[in-house]
């Protein structure tokens, strides 16, 4: 297979006395951006649902939605879900229809919505049939009170499309450390290769900075922001945990 590759070379000239003075105290460096990725077996699944009510008056929409939320709580308790396995975001208001209102126009009504998060962290995570059965039961029971699945993409594009279930890990610290080591290990040979071309030698590491994991940015409220976990996947098999670093090497 014929391979192609692209490259970009960008040069920056430092100009101005102030900048030059700032540089005088700075050691010359080679910075390498690198990413480490490890996969973790998920130990919790989150089902995302949304209860919404619409009425011409905000107070009516709120009243209707509060009743639905109470009924949802009752039904989830009847299914055996404990308080710590269910979270509600609280009722929020938005103009009905989600349109733009110019020139002081008023919306024709109000939506009141409340996200529901149902956490599954039992033996069902080891048996996909059991998991699917539990998820189906939750969806059907919640459908009876007017709740609908939330279709927000979990984290990235998945081959399975948007899912109402996200898989995550409760404590990612060990996996983050492994990904960090992987990123560090990847960066050093690259720095050595650049140093060789520059005819210099790496003398140490001046700094390591990590960048946060990129998440799909939504214009609207994203229920993922309200879940106390950082890494999500739509796959029961693995949750990818990425750590991106910039390692700044000194040389002489």
């Amino acid at each position: 297979m014929k391979k192609m590759f692209c490259m970009f070379a960008v040069l920056f000239a430092l100009a101005g006395e102030a900048l030059l003075k700032a540089q005088e105290n700075q050691k010359p460096t080679i910075s390498v951006s690198s990413t480490g990725k490890v996969s973790a077996k998920p130990d919790v699944a989150v089902v995302f649902l949304n209860i919404k009510s619409t009425a011409p008056l905000a107070a009516d929409a709120l009243s209707q939605n509060s009743k639905k939320v109470e009924e949802a709580k009752t039904r989830l308790a009847a299914l055996g879900y404990k308080d710590d396995q269910v979270k509600f975001s609280g009722n929020r208001f938005s103009p009905a229809g989600g349109g733009m209102f110019y020139g002081g126009q008023r919306p024709t009504g109000f939506d009141v919505y409340n996200f529901i998060f149902v956490y599954l962290d039992g033996p069902e995570l080891k048996d996909v049939n059991q998991l699917n059965s539990k998820v189906s039961t939750v969806l059907d029971e919640m459908g009876k009170v007017g709740a609908s699945p939330n279709e927000t993409p979990i984290s990235r594009v998945s081959l399975g499309g948007a899912s109402v279930v996200a898989f995550t890990v409760k404590d990612p610290s060990a996996f983050e450390k492994e990904a960090y080591v992987q990123a560090m290990d990847k960066s050093r040979p690259i720095a050595d290769d650049i140093a060789r071309r520059m005819k210099v030698q790496i003398t140490g590491i001046e700094s390591v900075t990590s960048a946060g994991q990129a998440r799909v940015q939504e214009q609207f409220a994203n229920p993922l922001d309200e879940v106390p976990y950082q890494y999500f996947s739509s796959s029961l098999e693995e949750v990818p945990i990425r750590v991106s670093l910039t390692v700044r090497y000194t040389y002489k």
């Binding site: 590759f5 692209c6 490259m7 070379a9 100009a15 951006s33 690259i190």
Partner: protein, 85 residues
């Protein structure tokens, strides 16, 4: 369908792309030096950024990939900061 390469090939492609970028940097530094006789260009920082490494589809590994069987592309960016003395 997506075409990709293994980890070893991926490393090799990035290495080749990095070498090409460095060659271009050297050429441009040479041109800059030639345009300023009597002055010296001194490198103070080099920044290496691999591009398109991460998979947008979470089930696929973070390897370079392409929709064409003939070519898999990788890109790196070398950002060089120099002082003019």
């Amino acid at each position: 369908m997506v075409f990709s390469v293994g980890e070893a090939k991926s490393k090799e492609l990035y290495k080749r792309a990095s070498a090409q970028a460095w060659t271009e940097v050297e050429q441009r530094l040479g041109e800059l030096a030639a345009a300023r006789p009597g002055r010296k260009l001194e490198l103070v920082a080099v920044q290496y950024d691999p591009m398109f490494e991460e998979s947008l589809i979470e089930e696929l590994p973070d390897q370079p990939k392409s929709s064409r069987p003939q070519a898999v592309e990788v890109a790196v960016r070398l950002r060089v900061t120099y002082e003019l003395r």
